[in-house]
Symmetry: C2
Subunit: 244 residues, 2 copies
């Protein structure tokens, strides 16, 4: 079933007005026609079904609210070190598909992406589009919030003020225990922040800083994972342990 994204839905009776951009997407990209059944979601967790009406103004008619796919039991923020353009797209797409509530891109000691690649804000807009496209495809009614890029040190400082349990994914060489499934499942937090490093890994100072903050260091198996795969692997390990 094709899914449209309307973040600020204007609903009048059983009719939801489509913004011009999404009406264009429906007819030109998805090649839908008058009367076709569609779903609409608002990115905040609400979803509707109805029929496409292209009589101006374009709308979804015979609207009824439907149950959205349940969100995960733990509110997870992914604090993700910047990686190269298309690797970042993969990471954002996977993180959305695997249920993160929010995404915080971070600059760490070993990030090699130059500031000009993200300082203009165009990159942030791009990641938000990738997250929306991924939410459409995976059936999710929530689009994770993507925050502007910040320094790792600032994010980890701020996270001590929140109730999110911190976890840091480290390279096998860092010698951390594997995510202990049993103990992790027993200690399921209400919210968590997962730090994922760049291709070059974390600096010793960053790992020390995370330890000081009370972060649980987790290693995702003995092999070195490609940076862009780490979000999918880390999130899957966590949902398997905590329940999807």
């Amino acid at each position: 079933m094709p899914r449209l994204f309307v973040p600020s839905a204007v609903i009048s009776g059983d009719r939801l007005t489509l913004p011009a951009g999404e009406a264009h997407h429906a007819t030109r990209v998805l090649r839908l026609r008058e009367g076709d059944e569609v779903r609409v979601f608002d990115g905040g967790g609400r979803e509707w079904s109805g029929a496409l009406s292209m009589t101006p103004p374009p709308a979804v008619v015979a609207l009824r609210e439907v149950d959205a796919i349940a969100e995960p039991s733990v509110r997870v923020t992914l604090a993700l070190a910047l990686v190269k353009g298309d690797q970042m797209d993969t990471a954002v797409r996977d993180a959305t598909m695997l249920g993160v509530a929010a995404l915080q891109p971070i600059v760490t000691d070993h990030v090699t992406v130059p500031p000009r690649a993200w300082q203009s804000g165009a990159a942030l807009e791009r990641w938000r589009r990738v997250a929306i496209a991924s939410a459409k495809q995976c059936g999710r009614a929530v689009v994770p919030e993507i925050a502007p890029v910040r320094a790792f040190a600032d994010v980890i400082s701020a996270s001590t003020d929140t109730s999110s349990a911190p976890f840091m994914c480290v390279e096998p060489a860092a010698g951390a225990a594997l995510l202990a499934m049993g103990s992790a499942a027993a200690n399921r937090p209400a919210a968590a922040i997962i730090y994922v490093g760049p291709e070059g890994g974390w600096s010793p100072a960053e790992i020390a800083r995370a330890r000081d903050t009370g972060a649980t260091l987790i290693s995702l198996g003995p092999r070195t994972l490609r940076a862009e795969s780490v979000p999918a692997v880390a999130l899957t390990a966590i949902w398997t342990a905590w329940g999807w």
Copy 2:
């Protein structure tokens, strides 16, 4: 540490002769020089360290065998439905990095990749190269065996004769229980075969066939995953449950 792949190592004393292709790879692609430290692995689980010697014939000298990264506790075969070219590359790369012992590409009812794309054998050669490259990168000393493409029906018939426990990854809509972590961990088999379908999912007949064969149906969360991501997600869920 750069890693070279020499499947049939010729060792004389503390000297391992490098095949021409791998010597070329070392100097031209990796830009290594005389005396640089390297690792060599044979794809079957053995690994050595030594120094590069480019005096003809090229070799690794001062050779000593080192401990390879441990292989997973369960011998997993991934029976993977064909997906489009670069998605297949991603799946092979992830499966190698996430420890599968063997990979069996399969044709299923909803596979849309045309036979000409894989019948010549060039695709198989390509997947084998992707698996070798992934093993080099992830630090694994084993290169999973990739079998020639077969029909799903033939593979599942043959699998009843083996001691591999069958698992089939199904779409959320198929209504299977999620992989129950506790029970899966309690029932860790010595070997398993994991069936992963194509973008269009499994046909009802295929799911019925898998059930008849005693396969455990597993669903990887409520959201629809991209086909190329399913191997990474399925394998991570399994290792989290069974131990990496």
